[in-house]
Structure formats: C-alpha cells, structure tokens
C-alpha cells in the first residue's frame, strides 16, 4: 500500500508514463482528459493530506532509495500541502483548459501532456520531500520541463530563444541551490532538512546561495529577465509557469528556510530590498508593454516582489501575508493567463495595439478577466484585496514605512497598467487588422477552466476564512510562526495588526473623499472635446488614447528605470567569456596543436617542477 504522502507525485508521474504508453491509441482530447483526471486525483490526495496537516500533524513517508544513500523521504506539513494544493488544483484547471486549447495542435500533444504532468509531479516532489538532493532534482526537473514546454514550438525562433533563456538563467541560479546543498551535507552529514544538524550547518553564505536560486526561479530582480521571453509558448504553459508552479518554487524555498534554520535579520533586510525593487521594476516594465502576455509576465515579476516582501518581514503577520498572497496570486494570475490565451486563441493575436472591443463577442472571458484583474489590483471582495490588506498590515506593524510606500505606489501603477490592458483588449475600438466577425467565445471546457479559478478569486475574497483556516494557517504554523489573525468577511482584519492598517485604509478613503469634495466644490465642467486648430482640416487619427500612447508615455516617463534592465550586463558577460575562449583557442592552436613536441617538453618540465617542489 502506497503511503498517502506519495500519492500526488505517484499519480501524476504514473499518468505521464500512461500518456507515453497509450500515445498511439489516445486522441488529443483523450490525452488531455487523462492528464486532467490525474491532476484531479492528485488534488484529491492532497486534500486528504490537508485533513491531517490541518491539525498540525506531519505526514511522513519513505519510498525506498532513489540512489545509493539517497532515500525518497517525504515530510508533508502545512506548507507542503498548501503548495501541493496550488500545484494540483490550479494545474488541474489549466489542464482542463488545455483539452480544447491543444486539440488543434498537429503534433506534440503527448509531449505536452507528459511534460505538464511531470512538471506538476516534480512540484509535488519538491515541496513534499525532506531530502535536499531530491529537492534539487525536482527543482531542475521542473526547469527542464519548463525549458521543453517554453520551446514547445521548436521550429519558431522566438520560442526557442525564450526556452534557452529559461534554461540558462534558472539553471545557473540553480547551481546556488546545489552548492548550498553540498556544503550543508559536508557540514551536517545529511541531506535531510528536518535533521537538527542542518540548522547549525546553515550559515549566512549558504542562505545567500539559496536565495540566489530562489531569485532565479521566482523572477526576482535582477534574475527576472527570462520570464517575458518565455511567453512564446502555449498559454497553458505560461499559466502554469507564472501562477501555480514554477515561480512558486523560489517562494517555497524562501518560506522553507524558516523551518530549516535561524533567519538572520540581514537576510530579511536584503530580501525586503530585493522584493521592493522587484515589485517596482516589474510594474514599471509592465506599463510599457503592448504585448498582453508580456504585460502579464512583468506583472508576475511585480507580484512576486509583493510575496517575497511579505515573507521577508519575518513576522507572524508578514509570513501569513506572504503565503496568502502566494495562493491568491496563483489563482488570479492563472485566470488572467487563461483569459489572455482565450483572446489569443480566438483572435490570433495578443498585440494590444491590434485588439479592442471584444467584450461584446466574448462576454464570459471578459467577465472572468474583470474578476481576476480586480483581484490583482486589490478590489475589495477579491482575494487580491485580502492579500494586500494583510501585507500592508504586516508592513505597518513591522514599522516598515518605506515598504508600505513602495507597495502603495506599485499598487497604483498596477491599476494603471491593468486599466490599459482591459480597455485596450476588451473595450475601445479594435485595430483595422482585427476581423471582429470571426471572434467567438472559446470552448466550454476552456471557459470552465478559467471560470473555476476566477470564481475562487471571488469566493476566497468574500470569505477568506475558507482558505485561511484550513490551508494558510497550518502552513504558517508549520514554519514556527503563530497564527493569531482574525478576519471578517471580505478579509478586513480585526485582531493583531488591524489598528494600523485600518487607520491607513481610513486615511486613503478620507483622502479620496476629500478629493471628491474638492472636485465637487470647484464645479468642474464635464469633459468635452476641445477644438484644436491643426493647421487646416482635422487630422485623420489620434483622437483616442490607446495602448501605444500609454506605452510611449511610460517609456518617456520611466526611462531611468528601464536602464535597470540587467540584460545588457548579461550580454557583456557572455561576450567576455566568448572572447576569452576564442583568444585561448587561437593561442592553443598556435602552440599545443601546431607544436606538440615543444608543448610536451615544456609540459613535462613544468610537471617535474611541480612534483618536486609542491
């Protein structure tokens, strides 16, 4: 009988094997349904685990040795279950959406589903195992899956370029994790992070290495630049990468550090800085985008900044805010990507300069998008509001005023670019190239896929207790923090930390009311067209503010921020390596290859010198 803790991973990997074995006989849709069923079964397994971890129990399991001296040890606690749920539930919804989305692909559907299942399975292994070497294996296995998934259309240059960037940045960052794991073993003699020896072995340098790996995976500045390039992939891939699994690996690792060893203030401060810069840079870059998926990609960067900031606060409330934000982000970002995919699937484009006015043609997609967009900007009644409310409360409680200011500014910028995206895509006038007559609502299963996630954004926004008590609270407790958060319906805090954030919220409402009052008092006239002399007859265009205007305006306004793009630095590093290699090649050809006898003579002289002297 297989241990319950192993069930989610086992089910997903078994389904991947089944996909391969039955590939010849299954239709494309059947492959999708098989994958979707496996995710549902895995989610059911996780829910069974949640019943036990909800009471503070830790479910352990051993699945034999993966390698000599490397046991498949599972240690499933509240944190593991929370991330497993995100992976399997959101992953399941994305797979449901994929059934029809991928039905039209002429080839590669088996590859797609095998990779998606392995990806989610790898995620459950990553968050479930207590063996750090297996954590690294899962970490990189997911990296490989994402590499192949981003490069799914391997005949397209943009896809493979994006895939290469994913591979290089995340894998190079992953070496930080490997180095830390190796050094931890050298110092503690174990790969098991639950072993008390691990805590004493965890030094500041090793934490820094782990954070580098987390930054690369969780798109934290300056290791975030792979994510916009990864957009030339099937939308379910983008959804899975951005919402549920991939970018959450680093979040999990950062959170897990709290249960491994002592957390020094200096790391909290450094991570706070990284989180704030990331949320700011992500938002500012998002403003400048005219590609809908790239805008969402940069918004992921920004939102991950929020999540990490919450965790970096290191307080009961901060960690709770970070974890709730992570779950909330999984829901609304998954929804947004699936909506963007539906738009692209139907219109054939994701260029906001071309799109427009499709709300009438795709009312369900529009409604779901609006819910998710409301969540990401933090409208009350959605999960995003609860997450932001918690985060602001935590930052105020910790007296991190700068964090509050940055988070508040970024929230405003987020509203700005989501208004731009919403109006450009769903309202306003479509571009001349867009054939609106052909636009139809997507298939029902795709609507259900995104609808499930969108509904969850609302349900857990109105009644956050449903997510807090059974899922987030055990996760927070499993990290050694206390859970003393009291929430009303809609997520307004009434317990610890409530005073500051309520006062802050009151101030914002008062300011808005004051603004409205002033506006009313001065009797501002309604907006009307202003006659502008254009040198003769009116010019034919330029009467509406569109995505391009926003983008150009943003580029002008935020030019100094765009110089923070680290890609030019990476290019210089690569050129330096390449030039060194070419220079060495020239020297080697002229010496070792063209004059081997002389080279041998010199070598043996140096060797003898070394042997006798050293």
């Amino acid at each position: 009988m297989i241990d319950l803790a192993l069930v989610p991973t086992a089910v997903l990997l078994a389904a991947a094997v089944l996909e391969l074995a039955l590939a010849r006989w299954l239709s494309r849709a059947a492959k999708g349904w098989l994958a979707c069923s496996a995710a549902a079964a895995a989610a059911a397994g996780v829910l069974a685990l949640a019943r036990r971890t909800g009471h503070g129990e830790v479910v352990t399991a051993a699945g034999g040795n993966w390698d000599a001296g490397v046991p498949v040890a599972y240690h499933v606690d509240g944190l593991s279950v929370m991330f497993m749920l995100m992976g399997t539930v959101i992953g399941g919804a994305i797979l449901l959406y994929s059934v029809r989305y991928m039905e039209h692909e002429a080839e590669g559907t088996t590859r797609f589903y095998v990779l998606m299942l392995s990806f989610i399975g790898g995620f459950t292994l990553l968050v479930g195992t207590s063996n750090l070497l297996l954590v690294y294996v899962a970490w990189e296995a997911m990296g490989l899956c994402s590499y192949f998934l981003v490069g799914f259309w391997y005949r397209q240059q943009a896809s493979v370029d994006g895939a290469r960037k994913v591979l290089i940045i995340t894998h190079v960052g992953g070496y930080g994790l490997l180095a830390a794991i190796v050094m931890l073993f050298v110092r503690s003699g174990t790969f098991d992070w639950t072993d008390p020896a691990m805590a004493t072995a965890l030094s500041g340098g090793l934490v820094a290495l782990l954070l580098v790996a987390a930054m690369a995976k969780s798109v934290l500045y300056p290791l975030h630049t792979w994510i916009p390039e990864a957009m030339n992939a099937p939308t379910p891939v983008s959804g899975l990468l951005h919402s549920a699994c991939y970018v959450k690996c680093g979040v999990y690792l950062i959170a897990r550090l709290y249960s491994i060893g002592p957390w020094h203030d200096v790391f909290g401060d450094a991570l706070l800085l990284v989180g704030c810069v990331t949320m700011l840079v992500g938002a500012v870059f998002a403003v400048a985008q005219t590609d809908l998926k790239k805008l969402l990609a940069f918004s992921t960067v920004s939102q991950l900044g929020y999540i990490v900031t919450g965790l970096a606060l290191g307080t009961d409330l901060g960690v709770a805010a970070g974890l709730y934000y992570a779950a909330s982000h999984g829901l609304f970002k998954g929804t947004l990507f699936l909506c963007a995919g539906a738009v692209q699937h139907t219109t054939g484009t994701r260029d906001m300069r071309t799109l427009g006015g499709i709300a009438a043609r795709m009312p369900v997609t529009t409604a779901v998008w609006l819910v998710a967009a409301a969540a990401i900007v933090g409208v009350p009644g959605t999960t995003g509001f609860v997450a932001k409310w918690l985060l602001f409360g935590a930052a105020l409680e910790a007296r991190q005023v700068v964090v509050v200011a940055v988070a508040w500014i970024v929230s405003l910028v987020t509203v700005f670019y989501f208004l731009k995206a919403t109006i450009s895509v769903f309202y306003g006038a479509p571009g001349p190239e867009l054939r609106t007559d052909d636009i139809r609502e997507v298939a029902p299963s795709m609507r259900v896929g995104m609808g499930v996630l969108g509904t969850a954004c609302l349900v857990f926004g109105v009644a956050p207790q449903l997510l807090m008590q059974p899922v987030v609270a055990p996760a927070v407790r499993s990290l050694g923090f206390d859970w003393n958060i009291q929430l009303t319906w809609l997520g307004v805090m009434t317990g610890a930390g409530a005073a500051a954030v309520t006062a802050g919220g009151g101030a914002v409402i008062a300011a808005a009311a004051l603004g409205g009052l002033v506006f009313g008092l001065v009797h501002a006239s309604p907006a009307r067209a202003v006659a502008v002399f254009s040198g003769g007859d009116p010019l034919p265009s330029g009467d509406a503010l569109g995505a391009v205007d926003f983008a150009e305006m943003a580029q002008t306004a935020f030019t100094p921020v765009y110089s923070l793009d680290p890609d030019p630095l990476y290019i210089r590093i690569w050129h330096a390596i390449r030039d060194t290699a070419v220079g060495l090649g020239t020297v080697a050809r002229a010496t070792a290859e063209d004059h081997p006898v002389a080279t041998a003579a010199v070598s043996i002289a140096i060797l003898c010198g070394g042997v006798w002297l050293l």
């Binding site: 993966w66 070497l133 296995a141 895939a163 591979l167 290089i168 180095a179 290699a581 070598s603 042997v611």
Partner: protein, 390 residues
C-alpha cells in the same frame, strides 16, 4: 551486473549504428571489435586481480586496445585521417612507454626520488592517452576526420578503460595521489577549464565535442583525486555517463552530417525540423553530459562535487560549478544554433533507420538511469568495483 549491461548496450549501439551507417571497410569492424573486446577484457582482468595487485595484464590489454584504436582511425584512408592517425600514434606510443616504465618504477619501498619520477612518467602518459590540456593535440584531429563511431569508440569505450587503469593506480598507490594532490588538482582544473573554453571557441560541432570531452575527463580525474567512496564512485558513474552521452552526441552529429553532406557547424540552422530524432538524441545526450538532473550525469556530478567540497572546500566546489556553467553555455549554444529554430539547411542524404533506432535505445537507457540511478549504484559492477575497491 547493471554496469556490464550498460557497457554491452553501448558497444552494441555502436555496432548497430555502424551497421546502418557504414564507418569503414571490413577492417574497421575487425579493429573496432578488437578495441572493444580488449577494453572489456582489461576491465575484467582489473576486477579479478584487484586483491593480488597485478596490473600488468590489464595495462597491456589496454595498450593494445589503444593501438587498435589508432589503426581504426587509419582505416579511413584519407589524407586528413592519415594525419590524424599519425598524431594519435605519436601520442599513444610515448604514452604507453611512459605508463609502462612509470608502473615498473613504482615498486614498494622505492626511494622518493624514483617514486616522483614514476609519478611524472605516469602523469605524462595518462595526459597523452586521455588528451589532457595541453597534450590534447591528437584528439581534435581524430574527432574531425575519423568516422563518428571511431571517435565515439575512442572517447567512450577506450576512455573508460584508461580511466579504469588510472583508478586502479589510485587504489594500488594512493600515496601518488595523496602526497601530490596539488599537482593532480591543478592538472584536473587545467583540463576542465581549458577543455570547456576551447570547446566554446569551436564552431565545428565535432571539434567542440572533442574539447568538451577533455574538460569532462578533467572532472573525472578530480573525482579520483578527491577520493573517498563518494569521489571514486562519482568518477566511475561519470565515466559511464561520459561514454553513453558521447556516443549519443557523436552519433547524432554523424546522422546530421550524413543528411547535410557536410560538417555540422554553429552556422547550421534548424536541423530538428528535418531530423527530429537525431535532434532529440543530441539534446538528451547534451543535457545528460552536463549533468542536468534528472539526467544520468547528475548521479556522477553530485558525488564529485561532494567529494571536491570535502577535499578542497567551497573554493574548489565553486571552481567546479563555474565549469558547469561554461559547459551549459557551450551545449545550449550548440543545441540552439544547430538543431532548434526554423529550418534553413536542406537535408538531402539518404535517411538511415537502424542508426537512429540504436541511438534512441541508448537515449532511453540514459534517461532510465538518470531517473533511477539506484539500479546502477545499489550493486557495483566491475568498473565501480575497480574504482571504489568495493
């Protein structure tokens, strides 16, 4: 047992490939069979005489295998391959002489000066055999001008034999390694950095593969030098991974060359669109070779990293990881420049069926070993036994 099966599969894969895509005349088959057979015999002998310490028979068998490999390069009968064979012979003859004399000098109770002389001769000999930097002059020519399976046989099967011989030396005379650890470490690092940087400097894929072989052998040598059960088993598994992945990589490039009718370089584009199976094989081989988990190579890499961290501390571990990053750059560039992306180069050659099938079988074996390395490491086979002394 598993290890023997893997080696047998490897040799069978080379044979099937050569059956499907002719690598030479009848003499090629004879010499290839002799090379593989002599290496297997040498490993078997090394394993059986571990307790007695008699290394001569195995060494002579391996030297004969090296000479057979030289003759194998010569069978192509072109000016370039003739030149490559002469250079190979020019390396192997002094290498054999040095290792035999060095081994002979290495008697118990030999004075320190003699032991140092023996060490110099042995290092020089192995450096020529395994093409360490800067004594690699023969390998790029062999890789560029010999048939791909000839090169694959040399850098996989023959290299495994030579590494086993080196591992045997490690077991018989540990003081040679422990007392001169700095020298060995410097040599290993020089080969690793030199190999990977020179690989990055190449534009022709077979030369790039040859140089990356040099770098990888440097890593395996470091595993042996670092020692301990972890380092030694890492080197042993790494040798198997090296062999498997190099056969896949050279095999895939060989099929691409057959299709294109010319060499594959970094200017070749989008071969995967026309040759999806060789492309997949190359990608699997490359990722396994550089040790991306769950590729087979990772089983070797983490052990060697662990041994290196124990032996040389974080600095040595950092040095190894920098090489790993450079390897990643090297192979990612090869995969993306040559294989993936829009097709540009016409493929006109007659497609082979058995050769891709053989490579796919080896790729599946490699993936399987990567997913579950326990099948190999639970019970040590002859190479692992020679290396680890278990």
């Amino acid at each position: 047992m598993t290890e023997l099966i893997v080696l047998s599969c490897l040799i069978a894969g080379i044979g099937l490939y050569a059956w499907s895509v002719p690598q030479g005349s009848r003499s090629w088959w004879l010499l290839a069979g002799a090379t593989a057979g002599l290496v297997l015999a040498a490993i078997a002998v090394s394993n059986s005489v571990r307790s007695t310490g008699d290394s001569w028979t195995a060494a002579i068998l391996l030297d004969l295998a090296e000479l057979a490999a030289v003759a194998l390069v010569w069978t192509r009968a072109t000016d370039e391959s003739g030149r490559a064979a002469r250079r190979y012979l020019g390396a192997i003859v002094p290498a054999i002489a040095c290792t035999l004399i060095g081994g002979g000098l290495l008697q118990s109770g030999a004075p320190p000066a003699v032991e140092k002389l023996a060490l110099c001769l042995l290092v020089f000999g192995f450096a020529l055999k395994l093409a360490w930097i800067p004594l690699y002059f023969w390998l790029p020519d062999v890789a560029a001008h010999a048939p791909v399976m000839t090169t694959a046989l040399i850098v996989s099967v023959v290299d495994i034999g030579t590494l086993t011989e080196l591992a045997g030396l490690r077991a018989r005379a540990p003081q040679l390694f422990d007392d001169h650890a700095a020298v060995w470490t410097a040599i290993a690092l020089l080969s690793m950095y030199g190999g990977v940087l020179l690989a990055l400097a190449q534009r022709e894929l077979k030369r790039m593969l040859a140089f990356s072989t040099i770098g990888d052998v440097g890593l395996l040598v470091l595993g042996l030098v670092a020692g301990g059960a972890t380092g030694l088993s890492g080197a042993s598994i790494g040798a198997l991974n090296h062999a498997l992945s190099k056969v896949l990589l050279f095999g895939a490039v060989g099929l691409a060359e057959r299709g294109l009718g010319r060499s594959v370089t970094l200017d070749t584009r989008g071969l995967a669109a026309r040759l999806p199976v060789p492309a997949a094989v190359f990608v699997i081989g490359a990722l396994g070779f550089i040790g991306v988990p769950p590729g087979f190579g990772f089983g070797a890499y983490w052990r060697i990293y662990l041994a290196a961290a124990n032996y040389g501390g974080p600095a040595l571990l950092g040095a190894l990881l920098v090489v790993a990053v450079l390897d990643l750059f090297c192979y990612a560039r090869a995969i993306h420049c040559t294989w993936l992306g829009p097709a540009r180069d016409a493929v006109t050659g007659v497609p082979a069926t058995l050769a891709p099938a053989a490579l796919v079988a080896l790729a599946v074996l490699m993936i399987g070993l990567g997913l579950y390395p326990g099948v190999l490491t639970a019970v040590p086979g002859p190479v692992l036994a020679v290396v680890t002394g278990r």
